[in-house]
Amino acid sequence: SAADGAGNSKGAEVARETKLPAKKECRELLAKMALIRRFEEEAGRQYQKAKAGGFLHLAVGEEATIVGTTDAMEERDYLVGTYRTHGHAIARGTDPKKVMAELFGRVDGTSGGRGGSMHIFDLEKRFMGGYGIVGGNLPLAAGFALSSDYRATDEVTVCMFGDGASNTGNFGETMNLAALWSLPVVFLVENNLYGMGTSIERHSAVTELSRKAEGYGVPGERVDGMDVLAVRECVAEHLRTAREDRNPTLIEAFTYRFRGHSAADPEVYREKSEVEEWQGKDPIEAFAKRCIGEGKLTEDDIETIRNQADEIVTEAVAFADASPEPPLESLYDHLYVGSETLPGWYAVDERTPDSHPGEEERDATKRAHELAEKGAAYGGQEVQPAVIDDGEEEETEGPW
């Protein structure tokens, strides 16, 4: 069982002696983790209310890995992740309002409502997405790093992916290329012990993922992904290796998702006891305790941080709710750059009896409009939801 895998995370090689930083930093780290936790819990609730659709992958429990990583990064560095990256974007500085709006599929969302929960993106914050294809972000990361190198900058790319993604062909191909070309990239596998419902022992022949890329020339290290300071320190070291020595490395961060794979997965594949064991290592709870214990923060500080997180998330929901739905006329927008000016036929809309270039949808016939409206009106209620996104989201609301 993956409990053994969990056991590893207590292994000696993972533990790190860390010192608490200054009060202000402690507050910031805790606040970021608390904000992500609150955001994810609220996203789950909004999903239950059908305000958000599609798949919803929550990172509850993985906050220390996320925040420890982003806190070690420079603004000019690139971060790229998976379909479980609301928190990653927020940690990089993306406004939670825009992330929530994306979950709601609204125009003010990070992708204008086109990408959804799995495809969050914020170029300004150098959060490069948000990708639904497992392992699809690894080659992209190598591409960002190649670009940084090519442009003679000292930017570094951090690529985060799951334990399951380490089995994709992209993993080996990208590791080899990154090492071969000495690309400034840090790979970080968020090892939460499961790829969907398949435990790491059932999907990876070698469960010590930090060693999985050695054969490609990418050395690795394990870190306790539930300890925000350990992660931050570890990532900082690897960033230096990438930035100065131009060597790619792989970090294996042990973490755990407290929720199901996506909004309500029945979780037949793991024991309640295992989940509880990990909940006992709640990264936010643990860090808060330590901050108080070592006198860096007071109960009042904690209370304030909690309230601030609540406020921000409440505002985010209000903002998302108020943001308009994308207009139907925008259906073909951004399909092509310059499709308005370039000659020729960029898209065809055969859904209406009047065949016409799709970009003319904007000023299409009245009938086309009526039909679009009729279509858009469908709630898809006739649709039988797939098992992975029906069922009840279990409300395991903690103090965080």
């Binding site: 659709g53 599609g54 798949f55 599929g105 609204r106 992708s111 409502g113 086109r114 990408g115 959804g116 929960s117 799995m118 495809h119 990708y131 639904g132 294809i133 699809g136 399951g164 089995n167 994709t168 062909g169 790829g195 969907m196 419902g197 398949t198 059932r202 999907h203 037949v268 594949y269 739905e325 994308p326 139907l328 925008s330 259906l331 073909y332 399909l335 898209a347 065809v348 809309d349 055969e350 859904r351 209406t352 009896p353 009047d354 065949s355 009938r367 039909l371 679009a372 009729k374 279509g375 858009a376 469908y378 709630g379 898809g380 649709v383 039988q384 939801p385 797939a386 098992v387 992975i388």
Partner: protein
Amino acid sequence: MAVVRMREALNQAMREEMERDENVLVMGEDVAVFQGAFKVTEGLLEEFGERRVRDTPISENTIVGVGVGAAMTGLRPIVELMTVNFSLLALDQIVNHAAAIPYMFGGAVRVPMVVRMPGGGGHQLGPTHSHSLEALFLQIPGLLVACPSTPADGKALLKTAIRDDNPVIFIEHETLYGARGEISDNGDRELLPFGKAAIRREGSDVTIIGVLKMAHEAERAATELANEHGVEAEVIDPRTLRPLDLETILASVRKTNHVVVVEEGWPHGGVGANLAALIQDQAFDYLDAPVKRVTGADVPMPYSKRLEQAAIPHPEHIVSAALATLEGARA
């Protein structure tokens, strides 16, 4: 007769064929312990054990390739790809290996395998998770392509696919897994040969051809056409795109002289384009109006529910297209 959901029908087909033939096995991501991402393989692990129901790593091209190798050496693997969207990672094994091998080696070896995968939109899964790739697979010589729209067809076609000695691409629709339908209980007598289209509704005014979920939308449109417009539509579900039962379609066209093809996929080079090209070629003198196509919008599927629904064909579009062909309307 019993009423079951599509996912149960497909599950029965696999269970029955696995009981019938020891060489049939199921492989795929989360098909065993998790019981299948869409629960289609529910209970199979318990009944047949780890040897015959295998969870795989996330390695699409290799999973399919392992199936091809196993099929070449005596097994009859059913490979489940979690969705068609991920089949784009396995196309080399599907096209350059599964489809090519029997021909490439002069018939010395067979590849009796089935690649099952669901596709389509409607769940707001966005641009990477909503493809309809029927039109891509029907291009490939060497493959058989099935796309069932009812539980009865799903069960019967899957059983036929498992027993067929050719590589079969078996495309399901994510929004149809919960759809209910009657199904006969006497398993083996319910095999459905590939290449036989179903006439869902008889009519003399216009032929509407719909694939997968669109076969249902076509029926809804036909009802509306009859009730609101006095138009009798003949609704045809091809059920398999390779082989294609063009005879049944042409016979209908010769009767109705008007055609609408409905699909959820992209318009360029789609299922409708293929059918339109074949119909205009072989029933040219019978057509009173161009073959009309109702397709998904020519965009990666947007996440916004409003945009997604606007990008997917609905009965209104079909009704409108049918009336247009009857008017002989032209752009």
